[in-house]
Symmetry: C2
Subunit: 442 residues, 2 copies
Amino acid sequence: MSINIPQSSLPRVVIAGGGFGGLKLAQELDSRHFQVILIDHHNYHQFPPLIYQVASSGLEPSSIAFPFRSALRKKTGFVFRLAEVQGVAPERNLLLTSVGEVKYDYLILACGGTTNFFGNDQIARHSLPMKTLYESMNLRNVLLQNIEKALVSDDEERRNALLTVAIVGGGPSGVEIAGALAEMKRYVLPKDYPYLDSSLFRIHLLDASPRLLQAMSERSSETAARGLREMGVEIHTGTMVSDYDGKTLRLSDGSEMKTRTVIWVSGIVANAVEGIQAEALGRGRRILVDEHNEVKGLTNVFAIGDQCLMTADANYPNGHPQLAQVAIQQARLLARNLRARQEGKPLSPFHYKDLGSMATIGRNRAVAEIRGAKWGGFTAWMLWLVVHLRSILSVRNKVIVLLNWIWNYVTYDRSLRLILKRNIPVEPYHQREQRERREHEE
Amino acid sequence: MSINIPQSSLPRVVIAGGGFGGLKLAQELDSRHFQVILIDHHNYHQFPPLIYQVASSGLEPSSIAFPFRSALRKKTGFVFRLAEVQGVAPERNLLLTSVGEVKYDYLILACGGTTNFFGNDQIARHSLPMKTLYESMNLRNVLLQNIEKALVSDDEERRNALLTVAIVGGGPSGVEIAGALAEMKRYVLPKDYPYLDSSLFRIHLLDASPRLLQAMSERSSETAARGLREMGVEIHTGTMVSDYDGKTLRLSDGSEMKTRTVIWVSGIVANAVEGIQAEALGRGRRILVDEHNEVKGLTNVFAIGDQCLMTADANYPNGHPQLAQVAIQQARLLARNLRARQEGKPLSPFHYKDLGSMATIGRNRAVAEIRGAKWGGFTAWMLWLVVHLRSILSVRNKVIVLLNWIWNYVTYDRSLRLILKRNIPVEPYHQREQRERREHEE
């Protein structure tokens, strides 16, 4: 059984995962020197920094996704396979996938991470992650449906719970989705739901740490918190979540919150790959690598991006932050290092160059920090727009995103409020009556 | 139990279904004279004529969908409810929905139709309809996935079946999706799948009648058939389908075709509404109405569009074709007639004004017939583009669709080839091996 990979006399590089790191590596490798095979369980590369805009009806999924086959069309001999990565068998130089085994000369694990529910299955089942395009579309559906359900509810407690959104995690994703929902509350709800008192729609942002945007300076944290509060977001720092059963969010101080929409953006854990020994795994299941991104204990197997943990970079003794820039810079260096290994030359060690970080809060508002300099307000917001627009793959997507942004900015609207799914999970009213009676009696 | 409809002293018009007819009626009714309630199980109006372009990766779902709440935002007192229409209780003036009962003074049934599988459950289970946005996205996923699966198959018969598409139904939808897939085969496959022999990708178009596009002239039929044949579509007229089990399409002449993708566009049946007596139903489950679209045997209950059957229009003694234009014209007249009924004036009878029909075949190719005049080729194609672009709701969607069309035309590309779903249904390879062995032994 093979997965039909065309013959080639070149050494074969198999890249598992087409996120920022995997895609960049595929682009950088010279097809005169290597046969490049990319394996991913999606047929497109997605752009996570704008996923919150898909969730909040500002952008279409296709605007921030790009099929691998198009992206790498000009690469001679490039092979893509749609498959789930299942494990490695390093002793036989094989990557195991859902469609068969692939022999490699060099293997690069770039499978990224997935939402971290810290082992709480109940939270995983009932809350809404926002890490993939599909999840963001699902979140959009739930947000819009819950408003529709609230409109036809006679039970005040149920109605309020349907109109309450709790966002768990005060990093950039949490801050950005909170801001986007606050704008929806202010500009869209009054027009779309003239009979609804939009002050009933409440947005809570929770974080265990004492301030939002921990990775940024205190000044930026404060700017963000002030901006969100002005927009009506209720911020609860120093607040841990202990459980969520789909109706009641329980906090570690014993208090609780009734909500039907919990957005879970409180961290990631690296995707698991079978065949990697437990001793090669570090914190957050990240694969331990040396300064060349080579997996500890293995030869010609590398890991890059969110999936790896490198402690050899002097400025980052605890490992790098799990950011796009780290993955991209590691991929770029690894392309050169693979060539060096092939030629028997010494490999260069990785040093992360921090290009800064930023988060948008809303219309004309963002925070940005670049090499010690800090911006807030309109300048940071323009900077945010330019940086993100530049990073989006393909001219077509850039144009569509820019047009959507201009449209949304000018009209104060979010045009994509479609609940797009097979079954509209509206309960038949007699069932609902029974259930509500039951709930009331409890 | 109520569904919380705001109080009003005006007579209440309840519209069940927001397709071409229902939406037009909601727009035309004057909110100074009526309270207008629209019920639909989607929160958006969709534009069926371009659904085949979503299926073939040329357009995004959101480009041809428009939320009702935006579309009718400027209408004072307008109420939308997201709900499944379940039945009517005319003796109590009630519409029954999944979220509760709605009292009406006037009820308009505009629920349209659904794909007609002619009672064959096996075909319904295994073939792919293309009537809603969700179905078109699903079809897109299956088309793209089957190509990916073919690439990793060692079994030649299975590979060929994965690369064979059969379209059942030679009306405009069948012709248009056949043309779009033929263009994908010619322009996209060779670039995206350099290792795949694209002649293996075969497109069959089947119809029970002796020619395609029955509703148009023989000349247009021939133009369409010739065009499609030149583009590589294999046409089988006079061919009935008797069964399909997901692998083998059986034809009524006893022959069969191995295919994993059967697109079923061979007719519609009106959606059922409980509480309408059997004697008020005609052919294709359509509700019999008089010349004012009032349901036979009921008062102040009307049916319009695909869901109704009117035999009183002298030029259409067997009823009107199930086309957007009929629904729109009926809605327009009904808005005036409801006002007349309210004022105690006589109602005007409906006469359908045929504005012509058209179908696009591919790049620069279409057929169009307008009041006896017939066009083929580029002129008809431009006409088709203009007519459809004009009919799309909202400036934003017009702009996005036009940009996509220009982009696709200039680049010969279809950019939206995303397989967007939660689980990629690629079988684990050991399961597949077992299954293929089993299949082979059978």
